[in-house]
Amino acid sequence: MCLAIPGKILSLADDATHSAMIEVVGVRRRVDVSLVAPEGIGPGDWVLIHVGFALSKIREEDAIEQLRMLSALGETQAAMEEVRGYSHDEVDPPPGERAFP
């Protein structure tokens, strides 16, 4: 429930939905980035994600360490399940962009 999962921004949506395509533990999902947008974000940046929303921007080395810790806590499976569960894209990504068709 209180998992915070690090993810890497691949691209920002052009529309007003404040969403970004993010890669998290090997899965691509759209995540709401409106809470971190004021900090200035772009492709390549890492964010901590909680229930489908990015909560804060973090440094890459801290993100990698956080991933290691999730795995040590035995939470990687739960994190994967959570991220795979996100499905709130307004429009499905084009087929080429779809990680899980």
């Binding site: 809470l35 901590l48 959570e82």
Partner: protein, 373 residues
């Protein structure tokens, strides 16, 4: 200690552990409360107790939102689910939490339309896709999660999605800490402050704990080294007879919090005058409700709920464990009637609950040891 090789920078861990031993006054007993369930899980998982001297006791706090939710609220949510055409949505953690007539999962088996979502935004998406149904999101969580519910409601409002509502059980951490400090059977010397909650609220809201209660508090990360460093920082403050708020988790937590998140919460939520916490009773201004401007999306106003207060099974001592008065294994039901497979109390349900964490790591360890060779 068997996990020490997994730690980042094991030498630094050993050095911090030695420093803690140096800083701790052997003539004194220290009680430090980790407020957040995430810390509780990490402390058990990494066996951090073994890295501390015996006179430092870590007391597990109320920071697991699933654990502090009273059973009556689950019953109320399930009563809404029983109404025709309603889809009940909640995070997976809620699914096995027992209500009086069984858990959401058991209600699902009996035919209620109950679905797991991983984000409140997914519940809204479900509402858009099923205009003939009403989708209710059973919202739980501290300030870490509340902004996501707020943004989802703002979107429902902007898009005019009317077949969506939120049954709001969001709670706030500061009044819970205040209740602990006010409780006569609690003697806490200092606090390990929650990490991800503080990402949203920042460090300022804790200042009264230091200033008025004279207790040090260190906002901490979740890695073993983070927790140990936080313990050392607390000891340094106590030694210098200081009480201040410090931020050990600076790489994630900004001092001022996340303004966009706080704005979204202020737009959608108002403080309830009081709310019941499992094991702790009623705490004033400790939970959030939807503002009048969001009444249309408020499940509590749209549906009638029984609103009956349900007391915990008498034998279960969740309250004492939750307040740190009892250790999990001191509860009469622990490991017998109450296990992670068949939880009686909520502390056994969530992996962040003190009982489940204790069962998973400590209890099994001692069970293994006790088998005769």
């Amino acid at each position: 200690m068997k996990y020490i090789d997994e730690f980042r920078e094991p030498e630094l861990i050993a050095r911090t552990s030695a420093e803690i031993r140096r800083l701790a006054d052997p003539a004194r007993h220290y009680r430090f409360m980790e407020v957040c369930g995430g810390h509780t899980h990490a402390i058990y998982r990494f066996g951090l107790k073994d890295l501390l001297p015996p006179n430092i006791e870590l007391v597990h706090g109320p920071g697991c939102p699933v654990c502090v939710l009273p059973m009556g609220r689950i019953d109320d949510g399930l009563a809404i689910a029983a109404q025709g055409g309603v889809v009940f949505t909640a995070f997976g953690d809620m699914m096995r939490v027992p209500g009086t007539q069984g858990s959401p999962l058991e209600h699902k088996a009996r035919g209620a339309d109950i679905r797991i979502v991983y984000s409140p935004a997914d519940a809204l998406k479900l509402a858009r896709a099923n205009p003939e149904k009403h989708v209710m999101f059973f919202a739980i969580g501290f300030e870490t999660t509340a902004p996501s519910t707020a943004l989802t409601l703002m979107r429902a409002n902007a898009e005019g999605v009317r077949n969506f509502s939120v049954f709001c059980n969001h709670v706030t951490i500061i009044p819970a800490i205040r209740a602990i400090l006010d409780s006569p059977d609690m003697r806490i010397d200092a606090f390990i402050g929650p990490g991800h909650v503080s990402t949203v609220i920042g460090c300022r809201p804790y200042e009264w704990i230091a200033r008025h209660e004279g207790k040090p508090i260190v906002v901490s990360g979740f890695e073993p080294l983070d927790v140990l460093q936080s313990v050392a920082m607390l000891l340094r403050q106590l030694r210098a007879k200081e009480a201040k708020v410090e931020n050990q988790y600076r790489r994630v937590v900004p001092w001022e919090g996340n303004r966009a998140a706080l704005r979204a919460m202020a737009e959608v939520f108002t403080l309830r005058s009081y709310f019941e916490w499992r094991g702790m009773g009623f705490i004033s201004q400790s939970a959030l409700a939807l503002r009048d401007s969001y009444a249309e999306w408020d499940a509590e106003r749209r549906f009638s709920v029984p609103g009956i207060r349900v007391t915990d099974p008498k034998a279960a001592q969740c309250g004492e464990v939750l307040k740190g008065v009892l250790k999990p294994a001191q509860c009469k039901l622990f490991g017998n009637e109450c296990t992670p497979e068949r939880p009686v109390g909520a502390l056994m349900v969530s992996s962040e609950g003190a009982c489940a964490a204790y069962y998973q790591y400590e209890h099994r360890k001692s069970a293994l040891v006790s088998i005769p060779a």
